[in-house]
């Protein structure tokens, strides 16, 4: 397993782009139901606060602030792009699928149709110490989603 399989181009790109970041400067859409969750990994100091807004049964907006390694920041960025526009049920399905892949130690392959760019995190599953980095924003999102819906 080479380092490039862990740090795929798409992950490095997202770690710089940070789609959806800037929670403190972003208002939630009017009338939307929101949930917000803060997650911290005490081992490495990765930290994410993510807010999710649901309107008419669909994810209207994902917004977050965070600090951490490239895997954790890219993962939050990918999630933000992927989740917007999904129904609550669809998003629960995507989160479950992502978690299953990440916890499989490389045994379960990611479905690119379902996970989109998030399929690039499949390689992380082989690095046990990094699984939490990839999961942190998704754990925050699931918590926020449960509050908002």
């Amino acid at each position: 397993m080479s380092l490039d399989q862990l740090y795929q181009q798409i992950i490095l790109d997202h770690s710089k782009a940070r789609h959806g970041s800037g929670l403190s400067q972003t208002e939630a859409p009017e009338g939307a139901s929101t949930g917000q969750s803060h997650q911290l990994n005490p081992v490495c100091g990765d930290e994410v606060t993510l807010r999710l807004a649901v309107s008419d049964g669909k994810v209207a907006q994902v917004s977050w602030d965070g600090a951490g390694c490239s895997i954790s920041m890219a993962s939050a960025s990918v999630f933000s792009e992927l989740a917007e526009g999904m129904t609550v049920d669809e998003l629960h399905g995507v989160i479950d699928s992502f978690r299953e892949v990440l916890r499989s130690r490389g045994k379960v392959h990611a479905d690119p149709e379902l996970l989109g760019d998030a399929a690039a995190f499949e390689g992380v599953a082989r690095y046990a110490a990094r699984v939490k980095c990839a999961m942190i924003s998704w754990v925050a999102a699931e918590d926020a989603l449960n509050q908002a819906s």
């Binding site: 380092l3 390694c69 895997i71 990094r130």
Partner: protein, 441 residues
């Protein structure tokens, strides 16, 4: 026949360590001889845990093969052998730090040693309040208005037990700040350590900054205030000569696994007059004289603080580790590691976007360096180095307040030991020089 006489001083001079000697030393450490991710392992994480030489591994194995039994009980042959090995190990380790036999208490690790002192002191307050135990206990009991002083560079193990002691007794916790160069300001310290100070706890050498603290000056301030002085020797006992009596500290702790021994064994040194009157922390078997259904009387130190069946084989292995270090020479090890530390800092400072924590090149530091890579998180740095077979530590190194003081959440730390060559440091530096490009920082 012409006789050329050699001056006595030259005859006695011990050569400094060099790479050739280190390569011989490495043969004693089987774990170092392996490939990681296709490259020879460079182990630079001894500050977290060190590797074991064969003599240590064999000492533990020999104990289990030849002498295993419970100690301090039973009249049979193996029990006698095991007790002898266990207590001989205590004497060896006592000698290693300049302590007396009865002042050397086995613990699981330094963390347990510090918690032991913390709980024994709050128990002293409880005993004194009820007139139990030695009359001197009332002088050790902390109360509201008293102060405990630590430093801003402490490992959590030498911070949280004192936070909790302050909570239990109503005392106030204060700290000596660290300056931008990672040093304690002694003038500032003299303003903080005063008549209210009842306990002063600090690290001998910082596990993050690499700073060696001015122990004598700090002990003098503590003594003048009438405070107990606790020394965290985790990063000094394994790496440099340590004489707890010469330093005149009241307590000192260190962990075996950071000094070539297995996990699960550590040492608490305490002055005899303190250990003999302090109430125990853990209670149970092996530490009592007389027990009735109502109460118990306790043995003097060290058994007073060693409740339950002890870590016998680990103690034997720790003594073997102490012997290995003594035979190599701690002064020589210290000088070699200081050289490796300088090589790290000099090399790191020459790289763009790297910020080394603590003293700069040319200033005293132990054989470790923690650093921040601009634009790249420490976790990614560690992963990148691992792909090249280089083991370092990433994170806050159990020193969150220190990192916060320096405006950081996580750093990367390389820490050397007697088995590291200058080539190890150079491979590490070469790898670090590629990190920012890889992550496009």
């Amino acid at each position: 026949m012409a006789v050329v006489s050699t001056p006595a001083t030259l005859e006695r001079a011990v050569p400094v360590m060099d790479n050739a000697e280190v390569l011989r030393i490495r043969n004693d450490f089987p774990v170092l001889n392996q490939l990681v991710n296709g490259q020879p392992l460079v182990y630079l994480d001894s500050g977290a845990t060190s590797q074991n030489p064969l003599s240590v591994i064999e000492a533990e194995q020999e104990f289990y093969e030849q002498r295993n039994a419970a100690v301090h009980r039973g009249a049979h042959h193996l029990a006698v052998e095991a007790t002898e090995a266990f207590e001989d190990a205590r004497q060896t380790v006592a000698d290693f730090i300049g302590a007396d036999y009865a002042e050397t208490v086995w613990t699981s690790n330094a963390t347990e040693g510090l918690n032991l002192v913390s709980y024994a002191l709050s128990n002293a307050a409880l005993w004194a309040a009820q007139g139990r135990g030695d009359a001197g206990l009332k002088d050790l009991a902390l109360q509201p208005g008293d102060e405990i002083v630590v430093t801003e560079m402490e490992h959590h193990a030498n911070l949280i037990p004192w936070q909790e002691l302050a909570f239990r007794t109503g005392a106030t916790l204060r700290y000596l700040p660290v300056d931008d160069a990672g040093r304690l300001d002694l003038e500032h310290a003299a303003g903080i350590i005063g008549s209210r100070t009842r306990l002063l706890a600090f690290t001998h050498a910082s596990n993050v900054l690499g700073t060696i603290n001015p122990v004598r000056e700090l002990v003098a301030l503590g003594r003048a205030a009438g405070a107990l002085v606790v020394l965290d020797a985790c990063q000094s006992a394994p790496h440099m000569p340590l004489d707890v009596k010469a330093l005149d500290v009241d307590f000192a702790v260190f962990s075996g696994h950071k000094m070539l021994a297995p996990t699960g064994i550590g040492v608490l040194y305490g002055k005899q007059e303190l250990l003999d009157i302090l109430p125990p922390f853990l209670t149970g078997g092996s530490m009592i004289t007389t027990v009735t259904m109502e109460r118990a009387e306790y043995l003097p130190a060290p058994q007073r603080f060693e409740a339950g069946t002890q870590r016998i084989s680990q103690a034997v292995a720790l003594a073997a580790a102490a012997n290995y270090l003594t035979e190599t020479g701690l002064d020589r090890i210290h000088r070699w590691e200081a050289e490796l530390g300088q090589r790290m800092v000099t090399g790191l400072e020459a790289l763009p976007g790297i910020r080394v924590l603590g003293p700069g090149a040319g200033q005293e530091r132990i054989g470790l360096a923690a650093f921040d890579v601009e634009g790249v998180h420490a976790h990614d740095v560690g992963q990148f180095l691992d792909s090249k077979g280089i083991a370092v530590r990433v994170g806050h190194h159990c020193a969150q307040p220190l990192h916060r003081r320096l405006g950081l959440t996580a750093t990367t730390r390389a820490s050397a030991y007697l088995y590291n060559t200058t080539d190890d440091v150079d491979r590490f530096l070469d790898a670090v020089s590629g990190v920012r490009d890889y992550f496009r920082a």
